[in-house]
Amino acid sequence: MKKVTFILSLALVPLFSTAQTAEDIIAKCVEVTGGEENWNKLEGQKMKAKMTTNGMEIGMEMLQMKDGRTATVIRFQGMELKQNVYDGETLWNTNFMNMKPEKADSETFENFKRTLGEYPSPLITYKKMGYEVKLEGDENVDGVEAYKVKMIKKPLLVDGKEEKNITYYFFDKETGVLIMTAQEISSGKMKGKMAKTFFSDYDEVDGLYFPFSMKMGADDAGYQEITIESYELNPQVEDSFFAYPGDDKDEEEKVKEEEPKKKKKKSRK
């Protein structure tokens, strides 16, 4: 019952007090959704999800591990298309045309590497990551008042140039829960506009609260909802699941490429 009282008092805080810092707001969100200690115990998660649009359903599986390994598997018509997979060394994707694995471009990979360590969420790890947070005031999100918290992360590399990397987090004032994030789009014709993700359908999984619905997109480009069917916490996943299957080269080519490496090694000796 102690915990109930604690939660209730948390809920009442915004009703009676106005002095809030970004840290307080994040701490409340973390507490309401399960507590920092529990979040930090997480070793990984596997989400079974789907997107439904105009009668089409696309199944997905998203894996995130504490050590940084990650994968999104798109299942469609019996095919498994792995996207944004990181095996600890290589970030890779499946090409939709020839279904072969391809390494991500170096800039994407570099930007990905800069996020390593954020798991389970920058809201838990921002201090460790050295991210700066700042309360930017209030904003109405989806019709309700929300706190807007700015988080300055490690810079992004955009077309070879370091650019500021800012994510805005919006927390429902009433419940303290995260309901939206916004981040500047860094390239293409929408560059400078905000990519947004809306969170809802929070539910409990082993003592932690996760959103079971995420709506992603941008105001001018429309939004797509991803509904999560299940979260599996601390899943057992074989290394081979993430492993980059290697370049699709014939043996002769591989041998040719390996030769100089071997020679180099030898010469070092």
Binding site: K3, V4, I7, L8, A11, L12, L15, V32, G34, T52, T53, N54, G55, M56, E57, F76, Q77, G78, M79, F96, M97, N98, M99, K100, N140, D142, G143, V144, K164, I166, D172, E174, T175, V177, I179, E184, K189, M190, K191, G192, K193, M194, F198, S200, D201, Y202, D203, E204, G207, Y209, F212, S213, K215, D219, Y223, Q224, E225, T227, E229
Partner: protein, 1028 residues
């Protein structure tokens, strides 16, 4: 945290949230998913008032526009995005902080090119995040800010030139300084209430040196004056502490507007363009001693033309002798201002230039018709095609499907275009139907090929036949004994709902034609004040005569025929009269004196005759040309005998436009200089609508009755549509008080059937959004959905599951779209995409249930889908198509289930072989057989050109897709093909059976012996289930 605890939390929270009435809600909590739709167009674009780039990064360029806010490009000018939508859209200048150019941007509002139709500003704004968010930093009464100069070493020190009010005296004019980044301002130079700072520049090599041009000027609704004794050019050499006139070499006598520029590469070289009493001494001056002395170089047309509109000089960043001057046409000098050549083809009326910081041969040009760029200093130019900053004066709609919108624009003619088009509304969809400045354009109410359009001052009024491609000038001409007819710059025209061939036109008289403009009859006396003091337009302009028709006054500006009685006609005039006839023009009564708290002679901008009662009307007045920015909107219910203001403190900005809903008399729309306001309760409370709706001036509102679309003529952001206002009609106090989800949408939907191959625009062209083609399920949520699952499902009348939809979770109105499809069939697993498998079946016309599961609550509503009345498909054809498509859908899923069984057997067998190597050989034999069988029926290879031959999986999906995707009956050829596929499938089923009874049976026997459970198969029903 346990569920119980969370539940308690919600119970507690609910104690603190109350039922809300509209009085407590802001727009975001009310309008939810309802969003404005921008259709542009951008092909003619609109007036760009200022260009400013990043000092080092050529990819970043900002433009300020006359009425469309601030736009930013981050790719060197290919694409621009708006960054100032929440604020005043009339821009005087944009400045980038040289110390923090990625973060700090300043915007001065209020355009300084002071034409008659220019809007107003409301102060200075600053962004510290590269334009993402903005804060008003004061100078709110400045009206027009001409210049912002930021100290090159200290971002907190900023100097601002305030040109001030155009339409009246103003104490705010002058040069201001802040030393705390805009927290406080000090006026450091002022002349008088009529003379404002039209340009302030700083020597970036020595920020203590600044030059300030002051301009004495004034507009009224009927005149313009540029110039006087007070216009002057000042210089400071001590950071603004003291200023000195620097006129040595300038003409004597009265001066008008002065433009000034420093050569960035040599601070001693200055250029000035001077408007003077002595025409020979007007034009281009140069100083080579930092303003001590001036030499007159040139008085060419483009250097002296309309100084109020074109006073801008820009000097090349590296070569002090290359100078560009704004003008009717763009001109450039390569000899230090001695001579100028005209730039290449682009829109006329040039306001500013920007030299690219990396490639100084690249130049951007701001015109009345958008932004241009050139790679050879203006010899040849191309237009930026994605700036929908067009300035509509008016809009009207027709009754076609999809309906068209019609309107005229500042300096960009008259146009009509569709409200929806395959692939989006593209540049090629728009038709031009008038030259010059365009204003009111009306379609003939019954004959879709006839339109009426006009140019400024009704110099031409066209009846255009778009089929014969013939235009005829039908403007009313002065008759015997008539005085000169006076038409407003934006002359009043309207058509009649009672007689399709009827046209009304307003000069100082009301003219009527019942034969599409062939013959005209006056049906009123002079309805204006006919004040002779306001009729001297030929003397307008001040030092530079300017009699363009823009100041025509004492004219009829708005005409409203009652939709209930053709004899009841309202007329509003630009000099403040409101006249009504109840007998078709035989007698007229001026009822303006009955309007309380309305200053005399306030421009009557719009009258709306009510749809519900012929004695009821609304009148909107715009006082801004008298320097009065109050919002005026009144209602009468007794033919004008008494009036009541329906404006509340919620409304910001003077109003020009108004629309009454034709279904719910309490639903009203008010268009102000700073955006759209909506009242749900007859004007007792107004709520600003901001969902994808910039704070743009709305010059006219129209309602397309069949669709319920509110169509807005914005003066700076093109045509903006608020699709289907019907949910607003249902937002009653009861709904707003509800603590549960309430359905509000339409109940019947016509399913669109047209298909297309999409649009043809190039990547950089603006394409206007289409309205949704789907059923729109609307509900009001009293709270944002955060905890627990929420799903939206559709079922047919028999309770069969159709589809899952994306649920809206917002507090306020939520829109969920259903594209009239059921879920696609399950496709057999394969190595490639089966193309036909991407086609979802359209549902037949009928009743459907929308079911929303929100936590433990379930909400249901029924909707009906209908076929279009005008369709190429008969019911018999549809029935045939539905029957065959249904059969194929089942066949595709049967096949998928067959392959699923195969796959399950194989994976089970592989597992067993691993566990029991002693049986590996026989098991692998079976696996091989199964895999070989799968290869016979499922294509191998990749999704591009590396694929193998199509097999049964692909062939079946293909014919399924073909038949399902077309709503008419399948062809005989397709039917024959289906028969072949069916036969092939039968053989496949037979073969699987053989395997199941042969090798696979042996495998099962083995499993039994080993006591291993059989492969676990989903039932067919489980396999095809899509509800979860």
């Amino acid at each position: 945290m346990k569920k119980l605890e969370l539940l308690l939390l919600f119970v507690l929270l609910s104690l603190f949230s109350f039922g809300q009435d509209v009085g407590l809600l802001d727009g975001k909590a009310l309008f939810g998913d309802m969003e404005a739709r921008h259709i542009g167009p951008a092909l003619m674009s609109g007036r760009v008032s200022d260009i400013e780039g990043h000092p080092k990064d050529p990819s970043v360029i900002y433009i300020g526009t006359a009425g469309g806010g601030v736009w930013k490009s981050m790719d060197g000018g290919l694409f621009f995005n708006p960054v100032f939508d929440k604020h005043c859209q009339s821009i005087g200048c944009v400045s980038v902080d040289p110390n923090r150019p990625d973060e700090v941007i300043w915007v001065g509002t209020g355009e300084v090119w002071t034409r008659n139709s220019t809007s107003v500003g409301d102060g200075i704004y600053k962004s510290t995040d590269g334009g993402q968010t903005w804060k008003n930093m004061g100078l709110k009464k400045s009206d027009r800010i001409s210049s912002i100069q930021i100290h090159p070493e200290n971002s907190d020190v900023v100097f601002v030139g305030v040109q001030g009010a155009l339409w009246g005296p103003s104490e705010e004019r002058g040069v201001y300084k802040t030393t705390d980044g805009g927290q406080t301002w000090e006026k450091i130079l002022g002349v008088d209430e009529n003379t404002g700072c039209s340009e302030l520049i700083m020597d970036k090599n020595n920020p203590n040196v600044m030059y300030a041009a002051f301009w004495e000027h004034r507009r009224t609704a009927w005149s313009f004056n540029s110039g006087g004794e007070k216009s002057a050019l000042y210089k400071t050499t001590n950071g603004g502490k003291t200023w000195k006139k620097i006129h040595s070499g300038f003409p004597k006598g009265k001066l008008g507007r002065i433009a000034i520029a420093i050569a960035p590469s040599n601070s001693n070289i200055l250029y000035a363009v001077v408007e003077s009493e002595d025409k020979k001494k007007s034009g281009m001056y140069r100083s080579d001693d930092a303003g001590k002395t001036w030499n007159h170089l040139n008085a060419d047309f483009n250097l002296t033309v309309r100084p109020f509109y074109f006073s801008r000089i820009v000097v090349h960043p590296k070569n002090p002798d290359i100078v560009a001057k704004a003008g009717l046409f763009g001109v450039l000098s390569r000899d230090g201002g001695k001579s100028f050549r005209q730039m290449g083809q682009m829109h006329a009326d040039i306001h500013d230039y920007w030299f690219d910081v990396a490639d100084t041969n690249k130049i951007f040009v701001a015109t009345d018709g958008g932004l241009y760029y050139s790679f050879n200093l203006g010899n040849t130019l191309e237009m930026v095609n994605n700036l929908p900053i067009s300035q509509f004066y008016h809009v009207s709609v027709d009754h076609q499907e999809p309906y068209n919108v019609y309107g005229g624009l500042q300096d960009n003619g008259s146009w009509y275009g569709p409200s929806s088009s395959p692939g989006g509304i593209e540049a090629r969809d728009w038709e031009t139907i008038g030259f010059g400045d365009g204003f009111r354009v009306y379609p003939h109410p019954k004959n879709p090929k006839i339109t009426y359009s006009e140019m400024q001052g009704a110099e031409m009024v066209w009846k255009y036949d778009s089929e014969a491609r013939q235009s005829k000038n039908i403007r009313p001409l002065r008759g015997k004994d008539d005085p000169k007819l006076r038409f407003n710059w934006n002359a009043a025209i309207t058509t009649s709902v009672h007689h399709p061939d009827r046209v009304y036109m307003g000069s100082q008289f009301l003219h009527i034609s019942n034969d599409m403009g062939n013959t005209w009859k006056k049906i009123s006396p002079d309805l204006t004040t006919n004040d002779p003091e306001k009729l001297n337009q030929e003397n307008s302009g001040g030092l530079s005569k300017d009699n363009s028709g823009a100041e025509n006054h004492c004219t009829i500006f708005t005409i409203a025929e009652s939709p209930l009685d053709e004899r009841v006609i309202w007329v509003g005039t630009d000099d403040g009269n409101v006249q009504i006839t109840k007998d078709g023009g035989k007698t007229w009564t001026n009822v303006v004196k009955n309007i309380p708290d309305l200053p005399k002679n306030t421009w009557c901008y719009h009258i709306e005759a009510s749809h519900f009662d012929k004695g009821t009307a609304y009148a909107v007045f715009d006082g801004h040309t008298k320097n009065d920015k109050t919002t005026y909107c009144y209602k009468t219910t007794d033919f004008g005998k008494t009036w009541k203001s329906i404006v509340t403190a919620d409304v910001y900005g003077f109003a020009r436009s108004f629309q009454e809903d034709n279904v719910n008399p309490n639903l009203l729309f008010l268009g102000t200089e700073f955006g759209l306001y909506i009242s749900l309760n007859g004007g007792k409370k107004w709520v600003k609508f901001e969902n994808n709706m910039p704070a743009v001036a709305i010059h006219y509102l129209d309602l397309q009755k069949e669709t319920g679309d509110l169509v807005m003529a914005t003066h700076g952001r093109g045509v903006i549509i608020l699709d289907d206002i019907s949910p607003l009609r249902k937002l009653t106090p009861e709904v707003l008080q509800s603590d549960k989800l309430v359905f509000l949408g339409k109940k019947t939907f016509v399913m669109p059937e047209e298909t297309s191959f999409g649009g043809t625009s190039t990547p950089t062209q603006f394409v206007g959004d289409n309205p949704p083609r789907s059923a729109k399920i609307v509900y009001y949520l009293p709270k944002r959905h955060i905890f627990g699952k929420m799903k939206v499902k559709v079922y047919d009348e028999e309770g069969n599951f159709m589809t899952l939809l994306e649920g809206g979770k917002k507090k306020g109105l939520n829109f969920v779209y259903w594209s009239f499809h059921k879920m696609m069939p399950k496709i057999a697993s394969g190595a490639t995409f089966a193309r036909g498998g991407f086609v979802a079946p359209s549902v037949p016309a009928g009743m459907y249930t929308v079911r929303i599961e929100k936590g433990k609550d379930v909400f249901e509503t029924k909707i009906e889908t209908k076929y279009p009345e005008k369709s190429v498909f008969t019911l018999e054809e549809r029935a045939k198509q539905q029957e065959i498509a249904g059969k194929l859908y089942k066949m595709v899923e049967d096949f998928a289930y067959l392959v699923y069984r195969l796959d399950t057997y194989v994976s089970h067998a592989k597992m067993t072989a691993n566990k029991h190597p002693e049986y590996k050989e026989p098991i692998e034999k079976m696996i091989k057989e199964l895999e070989a069988f799968k290869k016979e029926i499922v294509k191998q290879g990749d999704n591009y050109v590396g694929g193998g031959e199509d097999k049964l999986r692909e062939k079946m999906a293909e014919i399924y897709g073909e038949v399902t995707g077309y709503l008419g009956a399948p062809t005989q050829n397709q039917m024959d093909n289906i028969a072949l596929i069916e036969k092939e499938f039968e053989e496949v089923k037979k073969k699987l059976k053989e395997i199941e009874q042969g090798e696979f049976k042996k495998y099962l026997d083995l499993l039994k012996r080993l006591n291993i459970p059989y492969p676990k198969l989903k039932t067919y029903e489980e396999f095809v289930d899509k509800t979860k």
